[in-house]
Symmetry: C2
Subunit: 147 residues, 2 copies
């Protein structure tokens, strides 16, 4: 398998709320909700989705939890946090604190205030409005802009 | 916020089983389990983790579900699928079928056999041994090697 992930799709309760958080709150660019004209007759899944084209070619998508369940053929269930975490590195510790604050103001919530971890990073955890984890990090050994 | 995700960490039940699946089964390169010397006194989280450095700079990590819960400060809970999905594009439809088969042989399981979807892709869904979703896709309009 080619060592590549092309897309990360987050299951969300409310597409507009999640889009507002990531686009308006965090400043990620998006064309907004697209694909509303599509409907999969076999699974019943609707096509409406919001996408963010990130640096490096990765696409972050927001897709309703109900529809992802239908599309993937898994049972629908209530949200559960802790299945995965997305990580974001910054160049300075102060930027970690600032981004964690910004996420809180944008509608996310703080879980773990940034602090030194024994494995050599300074990081804190937040969650988006759907409970998806983000670890905001700084390491003197990681250049956030390196590809 | 810089439009970038640097790491994706999957919560896993058994670190060795997950490593075997992704490294030996799917052929992703890894140095194996690292960080066993670390332990976070504050949260109680152990540092042992396995990493895969993917194309484009993204790092895929495997981390025990118990430890991610401690590290992030969220309640530990049993696995739940459907919170997110990782997507992988291939150049040809046949390659989608082949990778889905390979994932099944490696210890993953098939959820949705590859088929045409109304939004213009040919795709199927599988899950890894921990239930994490992967959508294996082909689109005539997506070059899997484009950055």
């Amino acid at each position: 398998m080619d060592p590549r992930i092309h897309t990360i799709t987050l299951a969300v309760e409310d597409l507009d709320r999640a889009l507002t958080f990531y686009r308006d709150g965090l400043g990620l660019e998006s064309d907004g909700v697209i694909g509303t004209e599509f409907h999969d007759e076999k699974s019943g899944a609707a096509g409406a989705i919001a996408m963010f084209h990130l640096t490096g070619g990765l696409v972050l998508s927001l897709y309703p939890r109900t529809e992802l369940a239908k599309d993937a053929g898994v049972p629908y269930g209530p949200p559960k946090t802790g299945e995965f975490s997305l990580g974001h590195f910054l160049s300075r510790r102060e930027e970690v604190d600032q981004l964690v604050d910004r996420i809180g103001r944008a509608g996310g919530s703080l879980l773990e205030k940034p602090r030194e971890r024994p494995w050599g990073i300074y990081s804190g955890y937040v969650q988006d409005p759907d409970g998806h984890l983000w670890e905001i990090m700084h390491s003197p050994f990681v250049d956030p802009d390196a590809s």
